[in-house]
Each structure stands twice: as C-alpha cells, then as structure tokens.
Symmetry: C2
Subunit: 119 residues, 2 copies
C-alpha cells in the first residue's frame, strides 16, 4: 500500500456524496442512474464522483448493454482500517490511563529538552 493510494482513498472519502454512493453499493451493484437517483445533483456530477471512486480503486465498473454497473471494491478500505488501527490505543478506554501516563512522561521529557536548548 503506497502513501499515494492512502492519499487518494482518504480524499475520495472526504465527500459525503461519495460516501453515500459507497453505502448504496454495499447493498449490491447499481447502475449510474440508480446511484444518482437519491441526489439533487446532475448526472454528470455523479459520473465524475464515480470516476474519483474508480481512480481510488474503491469501485469497479462492468459493461452490460448500455449500463455500466458499479460495484464496491473494499481493498482501499482495508488499508484505511489498517492505518487507523495504529491509533487505536489513543481512544480505546482501557488504554486511557496508559496514554495519560505516556503523555506525562513525554511532557517532562520535552520540557527538559526545551530547557536544554533555551537561549
């Protein structure tokens, strides 16, 4: 998983329309018009959102006559989950006390460092 891919994935997920599209695709495949239906937005706008999702690898598209059925591709979501897991200890209740303790240690250390290079 490259950093670039994380960039593209996070950027794609930063838009509520695109997250809604993914939520819809979690129910199963859908065509562009079906995906567009719940939104006020024009069809070209949806088409571009889909292109963003596709470039991020979050969806793939088939061909079936004049329809382009979209389906969810969860690979990049797994990358996100892995990335965020590294921070779990910072919010997990059972680790709060340890986090506070480490933070305290760090504060003392940092303060010391700072005193060392004070002008």
């Amino acid at each position: 998983m490259t950093e670039d891919r994380l960039d593209a994935t996070f950027a794609s997920l930063a838009d509520p329309t695109r997250r809604a599209i993914l939520a819809r695709l979690a129910q199963g495949e859908a065509t562009v018009n079906e995906l567009a239906e719940p939104f006020e937005m024009s069809l070209p706008a949806i088409s571009r959102h889909l292109k963003v999702l596709e470039r991020a690898g979050l969806i793939s598209r088939g061909r079936e006559a004049q329809w382009r059925p979209c389906r969810l591709e969860a690979g990049p979501l797994k990358d996100i989950a892995n990335w965020v897991e590294h921070y779990r200890r910072f919010w997990d209740a059972s680790f709060d006390r340890m986090a506070d303790y480490l933070k305290e240690l760090q504060t003392v250390k940092t303060k010391g460092d700072r005193d060392d290079r004070k002008n």
Copy 2:
C-alpha cells in the same frame, strides 16, 4: 458524529504531510519547529497544516512560553474506525463467500429490474 466532521477528518488525512505529523505526535507532544524539522517545507506551510488538523479536532495546542506544544486528539480517528468497520465484511476473508453469494443474488435481482423497465 456529524457528516461534516467525517468530511473534515477524511480531508485532513488525505495529505501525507499531515499523516506524518500525526504519526510523530503518536510518540508524544511536539512543538511546531520539531514537527516541521523532517520536512523540506517552509514553517508557515507546516503552521497551516497544523491549523487544518486542529480544525478537524485531530490535534490540540497548549501554550508554554513561546512554544505551542501540539498533541494528538484521537476522537475523530475513532469516528473513522467506526465508519470503516461497516465495510469490514467486504474484505474480511471469512465473509468472502457470503459476499459473493449476496453479490450473485443482487446481480440477478438488478438484471430483473432492468429487464422490467427495458424500452
């Protein structure tokens, strides 16, 4: 957790510099200059990245003489983790067969729907 907050969090995380800053803060508090040191970028650029992280609630800042120590705030990361968890079944190996099955069901259904409204 509002949709807007998810927007801001995902957008903040879409930048590799900002993710690197969070990774550094996972080690403990740091000043702006300490955070800027690893990057080629100018200090004002880092300052603006920190402002983005702060507005997203991903960091908070104290005051200690002329330093502004930054520390990680993991609340929004927990939101991300919760959000992405909803998609776990799409990548989790033990669910692959079920996903395929659901997908198959959906394909048949969608095809039927389409046939219904075919011109």
